[in-house]
Symmetry: D2
Subunit: 344 residues, 4 copies
């Protein structure tokens, strides 16, 4: 099974060859640990190329940490974070955000995986009342957990709403590259220029071995983040090996080509799925995810050959993800199997 | 400067070539994330080869996390952890143990970097008194932070003391390999057989890119550790790349040969230092660290060429570490520079 | 305004005279602090009279603490607490439960302020999945925050559901006395006999100056609660003055007569409200609260004379509470004012 | 035994009659809860009389909470609090400060129970180093836990040291009244005028039933303290009964006369002790505590008649406290018993 490729998650893929090369090349002699090395400085400079000056960048091990530590920097424990009910921070991080920030996460009903100003406004109550947590962060995910993509204006008005109230916008960008590709934006246009305050920049799902970045678009928000990261158990000693992964991803358009490929494969998968009348596409395919409603009894039979996640058991919806290394042939083989399962 | 090697820390070294190879070989196709993959299962089996059955093993990103999450598994927030004043958990983890466990860490005076039953006993007070935190864990480091090594019997009696009182022993084994080599022990003899309950097994300082393991020697202590790790932001999605590092380290004696070499280099460095009358060896050189008292004005002059840490400013003591890749020539070059600095 | 009585909250009332007397009588000489005194022992014995043997009782300062520390005793930080969206722990404690336990509180849609097995079941997912918090406590409030009362059988089946899954039932009994009166139950019948594991026993809203109790119906759950309470900043030094309040409340049926009176006054208020056609009773009046929908413009005009809380701004619903000291005349005066406001 | 008075602690005493009267007088009609009532406003105004304008005052239930919540307001979790090894926050609060703030408390060796600039300076290291907690608060206790009193200048230079480094001074004033009496200072002179930033103002040990205040001498430090208090489970619903206690204590010099009496009784007790050659006064008697070294075998025999705390078992030192209600006759009876025990 080792050499096979499936559709369970973009993090089931391996590492892009250019990333492995970058790691191997950095394996020369000794350098100071914990980020005080030239590789890390160079990677930070690469982020500045993409996102502009006056930013602060910190590398961490995984996406949960990027999110949780971002929120830690933005909050005190009596604050609240508003997010969708399907947000990774709300449902998939085993309560790490609450545990580490002390904050309440307030789930906002969000069809299509997106917050709107209306939904956020109705969740912003009890302002100034000592009995209530105080709304502090609007947490959005781009591309969303259901594979949709916010239009730039949708993020811009959420940012404006937040800033008018002394709140912040955090963007969980585990798949920000996929969204930027969809929208034809640069990474900066997709984040900072829309008013986002802090970004969890995802690398692992886009071809890295394991490295993410927390990017602050206002330096003062990052003032003590060195301590937050260390206390959050996210300071790598051999930082260079994370730094070079991220630098390589941001070099020669690798972030874009990887994401672009994954998105195209999702489009192809969508097309194939649409040809099968018993299957229904549940969300617009705007990034690298395809959500499909399929007859319940088929699910486990297909899963015997391909592991993937049941997204919503009650509604019989499954999630199929494409990655930087998904091939057209993978999709043909997979949809062939689905079809055969259906008609057998 | 890139290709040079220094003595600042064993984590300033790069990655052993066999480790890089193992990573490259694991980069085949898709596997399920988060530890449900064959690479991880195989690595766990390798730990069982070394440590015996009835253990539980979890991989985490770094040593701070291994320590903090181990302590989390063993405590409730009203407990106390007894450790030396020089313990990594006490001084070098930015308060992460307190932050994450809620516990108080009680520093016990410890000449030579080692706890003794006497010192621990005198710190165990207020038992059963609701105003006081309740001692729960004895936290030791092997090899210690000052490069010394507990004799097996010293650990055994600490374990006995702990277990008689319903307490646990946690061993910070960032350099357990170096200690085992010194003592001529297997990894199991150096830990489990001495009564240690939970081990932070260090890999990064012994040639890995970045991977550590938490090893429970009683399965029930690990009962909910999956959640502790995830909530502690230490669950890797592409777990295979951590697993293969640890498996390679435990295969073909690599853990032992790497540590053995580092220890031998430290012995050689010690010899060279002893030839310089203005320098004084401060602690017995029993692992891969050499602590040296040197004239204050020399320190910064040598640091101009080689970065290393001032261990104790008041006492003018510096720390020099050897690693798996330190060469005899490195030591000759370095001590030559020291000598020249002294006489210039 | 001092001597007036309103309908804002049962905690706007003062202290029942018998309680003040009990405090004054306990003010004799010195006694050991922190609960090791005869007054506290006597009060605990009084709880045993009401709730039976094999319980553990701890006094704390307020209801938020009783709830939060109860949950702390029942959980680890990766657990989840299921409760209604209107639960005091969810909306009115400024995130203290999340902050102190580290747990996620999962809000369950609950018309009428009550959980049902169906609603709880659908919120119990991700069992055994390391990415998800693990459901551990079903938190119910009796009488509920909207003045309704669970039937005994409704609690019993929630308890059964919980215990079948290794979960616990916590009952926020800030107004348990009012519910027991409504149901004609003893305090034990209303709690322990229905399978409740831990009770926040409310005193302050029922005529005390300020004292609540955490009552464990299984001793082992309370094993380390002394430390939880102290670390939770809830250990009173002059405990006797809290103990005698609770003992007096549980003596000579004071808990029952106070609650009975408050309930009767709420019934009378309900009757008066029903006579005013522009007002609508929103929830069944089963305890001491009356929730009323009234024309928006009236609300602030009545509030000029009587402070009370707007419960739901969107739906124009207000909350009026009766207490142990509410008089029939108070109700007549108040409803007269309401009527005058309406027709002026 | 009820009507007897002992020397175990000043919190074993009851409530001063003027305090009970104030409570009884406040028991009139309904007032809004949670501090929005005229009694609380009046008590706050009384604090302003004593401490001057531009302060913020919050009432909490006990001293541990006053300390812990003060520290919460001054810190983030990566900060450190420097305090003496005998500090109440370090040894007697069951780790609540660590648990709630996440901070490390660094114990500074402190003969005589006092911090000095020298001792604090040597504990202030690792500034700016991400591996180390960052010193943020100097926590002092006045009168100290061993019954000594800082000279005003001693506090002033600690404050200066702190403020020069962007640090704060918190004063645990559980017995600030006793210290002010000793020094002939007003409460303001004893705190704010010496550079203290936040004060835990003690009431309970000076004749109240149970009420303490957190006093901020810079308003901005208190900006979000309403939420800190509520989330810290320290918001009283029937706040008026705490407010009137504190107001009465600060009226008509009651705080001073109570403390003065306790101090005088301690002086008398000291005199009597000095007459007994087998006893040794261990610390200068500068407030209301007398620490006595006595032959080990005597201790338990005296404890059979009078409960009191063994302060230091190894050194055979006990602590005897005087309170507002200690009488000369109490002291004579007690020292007579001690003498008889000695010679029997």
């Amino acid at each position: 099974m080792k050499a096979a490729r499936g559709f369970a998650s973009d993090n089931n893929a391996g590492v892009h060859p250019q990333i492995l090369n970058a790691i191997a090349e950095a394996n020369q002699g000794h350098v100071v640990g914990y980020g005080e090395d030239p590789y890390t400085r160079s990677a930070v400079a690469k982020f500045e190329e993409h996102f502009g000056d006056e930013i602060e960048v910190f590398f961490v091990f995984n996406g949960t940490a990027a999110n949780v530590l971002s929120l830690t920097a933005l909050t005190r424990s009596y604050h609240a974070v508003l997010c969708t009910q399907s947000a990774h921070i709300y449902t998939d991080e085993c309560g790490a955000p609450e545990r580490f920030t002390g904050c309440k996460l307030i789930p906002v009903p969000s069809p299509g995986g997106k917050l709107t100003v209306e939904s956020v406004r109705s969740a912003c109550h009890g302002i100034g009342d000592q009995h209530h947590v105080q709304p502090r962060v609007i947490g959005i995910t781009q591309a969303t957990e259901v594979g949709t993509v916010y239009a730039p204006e949708e993020i811009r008005i959420l940012s404006r709403f937040a800033h008018e109230r002394g709140m912040f916008v955090h963007l969980d960008g585990a798949r920000i590259a996929n969204a930027a590709v969809t929208l034809g934006q640069s990474l900066r246009e997709a984040t900072r220029d829309l008013g986002v305050d802090v970004l969890s920049f995802g690398g692992t799902k886009n071809g890295l071995m394991g490295a993410e970045a927390v990017v602050f678009f206002e330096k003062e928000l990052a003032e003590n983040f060195l301590y937050v990261r260390k206390q959050g158990m996210q300071l790598a000693s051999k930082m260079r090996f994370m730094a070079v992964q991220l630098e390589a991803l941001l070099s020669n358009g690798l972030w874009r080509s990887n994401a672009c490929h994954a998105n195209q494969m999702a489009k192809l998968l969508e097309e194939e799925v649409r040809k099968i009348p018993q299957l229904e596409i549940v969300y617009p395919v705007e990034a690298n995810a395809v959500f499909v409603r399929m007859p319940r009894e088929m699910i486990s039979r297909v899963q015997e050959q391909y592991f993937f996640y049941l997204w919503n058991e009650e509604q019989s919806v499954v999630r199929w993800m494409c990655s930087f290394d998904t091939s057209e042939e993978d999709i043909r083989k997979f949809t062939k199997l689905v079809r055969e399962t259906l008609y057998s």
